[in-house]
């Protein structure tokens, strides 16, 4: 729990109990005489002291000094040991100071003293989350459901908190509790997002459609709902419906980046890259600075063989986000497809500078270098030596080394690395084929024939 969160909840509590003296008045009716502080002082004086401590604690919390707030609230608790307000404040301060066990104790006491408000239980959920105590957290949720079944605000707040912390099933449980007693669109949207997240797609569609079909609502809200409907249909593999609602989401709220991306993703899955480009270009007109849209647009332009424009857009992404690996890979892809190995190598070198541990970067570079004419096999072998150091059990590295040695006429070395590649991956026909050619050149015709037979043998498996 962060301090901002704590302060928000304090504010909520204070709002619900204002004026503070009213809360104190409740306590004063039944207060228990403290034995080690405030004894011999009149009630009015102690109320004044309490107010002073309360103000001091809140000020300390405002200054992000929770330890000071803890000290002040402890004195307040001592003055009025039956004050829920003091224990609640203490719990909040202890939580802000990351003393979660103490925070939980204080909040439990606050709940016992003031069982008519949900806030101490709501805060216990947060504290138990911080403690990693999910069973106690669930116990708090059960108690909330039992004692405050109609407290929509509490269940909505908890649903959001739990979703933010990836506890989606519990978040959905709370959203269902709040959703069942409230018909506001915000709760319905939240519920449908969670339903989509956990796989309850039919429910997500039903709840989101209820919002989407409410024409009195702002178009942006209906657009969000249409987007959820579209995503849920996509998960149900109902492409036509998914496209319909994602298109509608874009129409209703053209400022929603996710709608364009989701619709483009649908087209990509169908390998319909030109429609993906159309959608993403539409998105770019509304959201020209969205890197996510530009990255997807550039990548799909490369796929549609519009290399120049695609690379230009991907370079635009890299200007503001130079660590975007996918952009380098797509530019390299463009270079390879456009028979421009220099561009391919340059993009991969840039990627290597940004992410030296990018998976298979040296293999990618070696492959790109092999496409250059004339290919510099000595440099390719240097790159592959780095690849072998990074991944000593990768058969592809030794296969590429074998090809490079063949090109250099170093057949004995080629045979050695190709045999190593086969040892690591005995079912790859191309390694046997390369080895067969090497043996031919070494004049070992029997061995060459044996390798060619293994290629044919393996191809019989593939033909099955």
């Amino acid at each position: 729990m962060n301090l901002i969160g704590a302060r928000r909840f304090i504010a909520a509590f204070v709002r619900s109990r204002t004026p503070v003296l009213a809360a104190l008045g409740i306590c004063a009716c039944t207060y228990i005489e403290a034995t080690d502080c405030g004894s011999g002082v009149g009630l009015q004086d102690r109320i004044a002291q309490f107010k002073q401590l309360d103000g001091k604690a809140e000020a300390a919390m405002g200054r992000h000094q929770p330890e000071e707030a803890v000290a002040a609230y402890k004195q307040a608790v001592c003055l009025f040991p039956n004050s829920a307000r003091a224990y609640y404040g203490l719990g909040m301060a202890e939580a802000a100071a990351r003393h979660f066990v103490d925070a939980r104790d204080a909040l439990r006491t606050a709940d016992r003293l003031q069982p008519t408000t949900a806030m101490p239980l709501v805060m216990q959920v947060r504290v138990n989350y911080s403690l990693g105590d999910l069973e106690s957290l669930k116990s708090n949720l059960r108690e909330l459901a039992s004692r405050f079944p109609k407290d929509t605000d509490a269940h909505t707040v908890l649903a959001r908190f739990l979703a933010e912390h990836n506890l989606f099933v519990l978040a959905l449980a709370e959203a269902l509790r709040s959703g069942s007693s409230a018909d506001d669109w915000n709760a319905k949207i939240q519920l449908s997002v969670l339903e989509n997240t956990v796989g309850a797609y039919a429910d997500a569609i039903r709840n989101a459609l209820a919002v989407e079909r409410n024409y009195a609502l702002p178009e942006a809200v209906r657009g969000t709902a249409a987007g959820i409907v579209g995503l849920s249909y996509e998960s149900l593999r109902q492409g036509d419906q998914a496209r319909k609602y994602l298109s509608e989401a874009i129409q209703l709220d053209p400022s929603q980046e996710n709608s364009y991306l989701a619709l483009a993703d649908l087209f990509e899955q169908e390998q319909n890259y030109s429609d993906a480009v159309t959608v993403l270009e539409q998105g770019r007109r509304h959201l020209p600075d969205s890197n996510a849209l530009l990255l997807a647009l550039g990548t799909n332009m490369v796929r549609t063989e519009n290399y120049e424009q695609g690379v230009k857009i991907l370079r635009q992404v890299l200007q503001t986000a130079p660590d975007t690996s996918e952009a380098y890979i797509s530019i390299a892809d463009a270079g390879r497809k456009a028979a421009n190995p220099a561009e391919e190598i340059e993009a991969l070198r840039e990627l290597e500078r940004q992410h030296s541990d990018y998976p298979m970067i040296h293999v990618l570079l070696a492959r790109a270098m092999s496409n250059q004419r004339p290919a510099e096999y000595t440099k390719i072998l240097e790159e592959l030596a780095l690849a072998a150091t990074a991944a000593p059990n990768d058969p592809e590295v030794y296969l590429l080394q074998g090809k490079a040695y063949v090109a250099l006429g170093r057949y004995e070395q080629a045979a050695s690395v190709l045999e190593r590649s086969i040892g690591l991956r005995p079912t790859e026909p191309s390694a046997y084929y390369q080895l067969a050619r090497v043996y031919q050149r070494l004049g070992k015709t029997d061995l060459a024939r044996q390798q060619f037979e293994r290629v044919k043998y393996l191809e019989q498996n593939a033909a099955k």
Partner: protein
């Protein structure tokens, strides 16, 4: 209620990376069409021979104390070397907790589990929900669950979302999907959904040697192992290979796995890849230096009770269940 067509799907075990089946490779064996369930409307009813029948909704269920169990599920009709078996981490509420909340009567003997899927098993039978009956002792087992998560995600719709039973060690048909009702039954209670639907005619072990047929209910999973690699009919160049697969038993952890490459004439020990556990399968591996020849590769598991897979199918068996003999996989090396 809308429903999707019934499915029967399993996936080659060699697609599993590690020892946990990912959700999209969980095997599916439906009896009726998959129901479409609304979470708002879904509830689990607990009734029958109990003092306090009740219904519990999704929110209340998932907020109850939960446990996680790594367990395999195997279809009772899974072929020898078949792939209708999956293994993963199930999370949910102990079935015993749900039953105890209803206070079963003292002579409660079993529990009938009903799913939200329904249909007719036979043309002359009424349209009824899918159901199974499980002894109450097994329901009270600490590992028996009403599960709502698999591998930390909600159950896939086709695998029982929002909640299903999971009985580690029992064949899969007992782990009723799309669970909606638990009915506690007294001893010899008649007229159940299970009987009226004709479900009692399925999943029976039929043994017929001499004399009358013996018919008994299939229940606990028999010790079994399968080869994930190599596959039958594979042609390989000579070289070093890893033969690997999985082994499991409803009778407890696997303690030994042997491999034969010559159709059972000689056996060698394989390496178990993880610490065997009582409810989960174990991945095993055997390093094979393959020289040219024709091979019949077999695996044979033995569980902690010393029960080993049979080398052949009992010829007296006249049913299609518990197919756990050591079936050979043929491959050739050149």
């Amino acid at each position: 209620m809308k429903s999707y067509e019934l499915q029967n799907q399993s996936y080659a075990l060699r697609m599993i990376d590690g020892s946990v089946t990912p959700p999209d490779l969980l095997f599916v064996r439906d009896h009726f069409n998959e129901p479409e369930i609304s979470l708002d409307a879904w509830s689990l009813q607990v009734d029958g021979q109990v003092q306090r029948p009740y219904e519990i909704g999704f929110s209340d269920l998932v907020e109850m104390p939960s446990i996680k169990v790594e367990a395999f599920l195997e279809c009772a009709g899974n072929a020898a070397n078949g792939s209708a078996v999956s293994n993963g981490s199930w999370e949910g509420v102990a079935l015993s907790s749900l039953l105890e909340a209803a206070a079963p009567v003292a002579d409660a003997a079993s529990v009938q589990l009903e799913g939200a899927d329904s249909g007719r098993l036979y043309p002359d039978h009424p349209l009824l929900p899918y159901s199974q009956i499980v002894p109450i002792e097994k329901c009270r087992d600490r590992a028996s669950l009403v599960a709502y998560k698999y591998n930390d995600l909600t159950l896939p719709p086709r695998n029982g979302f929002p909640a299903r039973a999971v009985f580690p060690g029992l064949y899969g048909m007992n782990s009723v999907k799309w669970l909606r009702r638990l009915t506690v039954l007294g001893a010899n209670e008649q007229g159940t959904t299970f009987e009226r639907s004709g479900m009692n005619r399925l999943y029976n072990r039929v043994r017929h040697a001499e004399g009358p047929k013996q018919i008994t209910r299939v229940s606990s999973v028999q010790v079994k192992s399968v080869l994930a690699w190599p596959m039958d009919g594979l042609k390989l160049p000579a070289g070093r290979y890893s033969i690997w697969g999985f082994a499991w038993s409803g009778g407890g952890a696997i303690r030994k796995l042997s491999i034969s490459i010559n159709g059972g004439k000689q056996w060698s020990p394989a390496r178990l890849q993880s610490q065997p556990s009582p409810h989960a399968w174990v991945q095993w591996r055997y390093e094979w230096n393959a020289v040219p020849g024709d091979y019949a590769v077999m695996s044979c598991a033995e569980d902690i009770r010393g029960t080993a897979q049979p080398l052949t199918r009992d010829p007296a068996r006249k049913d299609g269940y518990e197919l756990n003999w050591c079936a050979p996989v043929h491959c050739s090396v050149r």
